[in-house]
């Protein structure tokens, strides 16, 4: 079926992709992602613990609608978070953390989001005006998802999976300053918007993939091998000539080449190496007609659909143990695009400053389509007789609480999943004394076996007893 058969929302008339059913119907009447069979039961008994990070941006809107009522294990969600009500038993709702940035300093937006998962101050070049500096804001240390990926991702084909929906500012200038995932100082990982690109990386070569052979990545492995040889040799030559900073860039390139090489078949075979997925069946590639929907800048119109497809892809990858760390960035700090899918034509940034009620509605939708959808799927998917939820440590966060005032404090964090039994969920935690968001980050690191008491360079009060690490 072609694109035009789909109900396409106009600028004013929003289409509700809120339920899974509508979503599937919207996808040309067929299931985009065929049901996949997770790890074998036996394997599932020892299923690995995975980390899933979901970020929102520009604050939560109205504070009054944010917090739950009640306390301890007996609480009800506030209206912004009402979609999480069915998943309360799997959640730890924190009130609240103290973030690093809290100022009206021009350009604080990207600094706060660079700090969000790194727990370190952001940097930007000296000189120029705020226009130039803001665009080039970068984090100064690695982010928690990448820290955990280094701990637990080595054995999987993809150390981590970083996706984004509307994570590009939609404006002139830098597409990178709003990044939240960092492999190290000034080394951002761009959130991939295109689910087809992700699909090809993960599943196009799967031995039992439904994908046509032409979708396979390595059509000419013999050629690829010669090319990789030539390219690596030249990279080595360049590496011997440049300075330290440039060397790091070339080494990253070389790492990428090594990853490409790993996907090649043994010498002498000229057809793409199938990825062995065992009993796990790769999902179907979404229909090609809809490709444009998943590309950059479509978030304004199709955010719920894109986000849910990305979540399905991420969970398929995890169920097949292709990766153990996933990050999904929904929106972007500043965010110069309007959520047309809700019938709103003000930009996200404008909403956060001038239309607080609409900002609450937007946050509500993001949580519903993103985090709540994720939690629903984690409960549905079974591994060894238990829901996948048990083997996941997930959290949702945002660089600001009060986005209008650019306040990093209070900073919201909602944790979810039992982290393989480590996290005791079903609680509303109200701190008696101030806890910093770096305390949460170090706790996540420890959840995955990181033997550290401080994550990033921000001050920290140490791990949170509430997470049992």
């Amino acid at each position: 079926m072609s694109h035009k058969h789909m109900s396409r929302p106009s600028v004013r008339g929003a289409v509700d992709f809120s339920s899974r059913r509508t979503f599937l119907k919207a996808m040309s009447g067929g299931a985009t992602l065929a049901p996949f069979i997770p790890l074998l039961e036996a394997q599932a008994a020892t299923a690995p613990t995975r980390l899933i990070v979901v970020t929102g941006h520009n604050g939560w809107g109205e504070a009054s609608k944010w917090y739950p009522t009640g306390s301890g294990t007996n609480f009800s969600m506030g209206s912004t978070c009402n979609s999480l009500e069915p998943y309360k038993k799997d959640i730890i709702f924190f009130k609240d953390f103290e973030g690093r940035y809290a100022s009206d300093e021009a350009g604080v937006h990207p600094m706060a989001s660079a700090n969000l998962l790194t727990g370190s101050p952001a940097t930007r070049p000296a000189g120029g005006t705020i226009f130039e500096r803001q665009n080039a804001t970068r984090a100064t240390s690695l982010s928690i998802d990448q820290y955990v990926a280094k701990l637990i991702g080595k054995g999987t084909p993809h150390e981590s999976l970083v996706m984004g929906c509307g994570a590009e500012p939609f404006s002139a200038g830098d597409h990178i300053g709003g990044s939240v995932s960092y492999r190290g100082a000034s080394d951002p990982i761009l959130a991939e918007p295109d689910v087809f690109v992700v699909f090809k990386r993960l599943f196009a070569n799967a031995s039992n993939a439904v994908a046509a052979p032409t979708d396979r990545v390595n059509l000419r492995a013999g050629d690829d091998r010669s090319i990789l040889d030539a390219v690596s040799k030249n990279l080595g030559w360049l590496n011997g000539r440049v300075g330290t900073a440039d060397k790091r860039r070339l080494e990253s390139h070389l790492d990428g080449l090594r990853e490409m090489e790993k996907r090649l078949p043994p010498l002498g075979k000229d057809v793409g190496a199938p990825v062995e997925l065992g009993q796990c069946v790769a999902p179907k590639m979404p229909p090609a007609n809809d490709a444009t929907m998943f590309q950059t800048r479509q978030a304004a119109r199709f955010m719920p659909l894109i986000v849910q497809t990305q979540i399905d892809m991420m969970l398929a990858a995890m169920a097949c143990d292709q990766t153990r760390v996933g990050l999904l960035q929904i929106g972007v700090t500043t965010g110069l695009w309007p959520p047309l899918f809700m019938g709103l034509n003000k930009t996200l940034h404008d909403l956060s400053h001038n239309f607080n009620a609409d900002m609450s509605r937007f946050t509500q939708r993001c949580l519903k389509e993103g985090f709540a959808y994720l939690l629903g799927r984690l409960n549905e998917l079974q591994e060894g007789g238990a829901p996948m939820m048990r083997n996941v440590a997930a959290f949702w966060t945002n660089e600001f609480g009060d986005g209008d005032a650019h306040q990093g404090s209070p900073m919201p964090i909602i944790a979810a999943g039992q982290a393989g039994g480590k996290w005791k969920t079903g609680r509303y935690v109200v701190f008696n004394s101030k806890r910093r968001h770096s305390d949460f980050l170090v706790s996540v690191a420890r959840t995955f076996g990181g033997d550290i008491t401080k994550f990033g360079t921000d001050p920290t009060g140490g791990p949170l007893p509430e997470l049992g690490v």
Partner: protein, 552 residues
Amino acid sequence: MKLFPFCKDQFVRFVGVSAIGWLGAACQAVQPDAKANGGESGTPDEPATTGECRADANFSRSPMRRITREEFANAVEDLFGPAARVTADVLPPDEVSGGYANNAVIRLQAIDLDKFQGMARQVAEKVKANLSTVLPCGKDLEGCVLKYWQDLSRKALSRPLMDEERDSFMAMYRQKAAATNHEEGVRLLVETLMQYPAFLYRPIVGEKTSQQGVLRLTPSELAARLSFFLWSSVPDKELLDAADAGELSGIAGVTKQTHRMMDSEKFSRTLRSFALQWFAVDENTPIRNAEEFPDFNQETWNSLRGGMGKFFAQVVLDGGDLAQVLTAPYTFADKRSAKVLGLDVQSEDLVRVDTKGNERGGMMTQPAVMAKLGNTEVSRPIKRGLFVRNRLFCQDPPPPPPEGVPPFEADTTNMTVRQMLEAHRSNPSCAGCHEFFDPLGLAFSNFDGVGKYHVTEKGQQIDASGKLTETDVDGSFSSAMEFMTMIKDSQLVKDCVSRQVVRFAIGRLDDDGDKCSLESTLAQFDKAASSMEELFIAVATSNSFRFTGDVE
């Protein structure tokens, strides 16, 4: 005129750094003398040798740049001809620094390399499909490929292939051609070259000069820098020959090549690209309310961008000056963009049209600029004003007050944008910053969210008047074009525009180490009565362009 204390400080600090020429102070701008310092004598040019510039010439190290999407597409076309043209926006997005795509810091990762691989395959298939035109060969296939490949690689890498490289490329060809055929052999070479690090990256290693800490770009590095600056693409044979002959070692040789390259159609390609980046107009169509702006779609956006780029290129190529860039009462429009411009044009292609000079002219009032700095609904004075300060005056707003600014509470239902801003500025802690840029933005009140010109807003006559403060051309204005005419001869603007070209050229923000070079560029720009062509030449021959620092 009321200056808030921190504004004043900021202003003085700013002026102290950037507009020394205007204040007539300090560092003497020094032009290295081409005759005395190489070029014709064969001795390579040295950095600034006399005056106070000597002490200042500690440039920052120029970072290695990776090819941008646009450069990649241009290079493919320049290397293999128009039949191989590709759209390179499937490549990873470009990193922007100083307002210009430079790809100077960010690292490529596996997922990015997948994209380059896909792109390389696409290019290689296109070349193969058209091989008899790209590479007509006689009987001696291998000899033919060898010669072609050496010439082509020299352009792609800005240097000749090393013997070892040449041999391994030829071995690749031979093996593939033997196993399949000649066409496949060449395809494999092209696919490799398009992923070859020396094609993707342009490192600057440099060579020692008489001055400690200052390195001269090697001839091939300078050729590449010139070519990517003026053509946004790989060098041609003539430029590389000049580099090999040592002709780029002095200002005279660089000037000669710059003139030659500016006569090429490839230069206008770059001018269009520079204009769009300077004014932050990217390919993303601003999302607008379809009921309010029914014709504002991707096609219209492309026409508006195209017309704007063409306007800038035309001014420069006509030998125009900065004043024309800022005020000339014409543009390029087709039937789509004409609707936004309020002009009657039936042409499918962009054609030159006059604008009403009192309403619209020059770059700033281009609908694409107004739209990018616009809003989904109304005109957006804060953004526009800040943009004028940042990108035309190179001025920063003063820092906000140390204490949290109280929220702005007022019933704005029936207020015009101007009234809202006035109410906002009645709070002194807001006024400190906003008086600095609001009035400049309000000058563009006649332009709505897509850049259409209006005379009324909410039933009231639009008032675009205001006062410009804290510049060398302070005064009152009553409209956008009056404002642009006021600032067209500002030394601050002139200095800022020359910085923009420098940043575009060297792929990094200018800093203290560039001070003398910038002054010299500005002096040359000034002396040439602000001729834009002369500005490009001044930048290409400047110390910041031809030299680099050795400390990271």
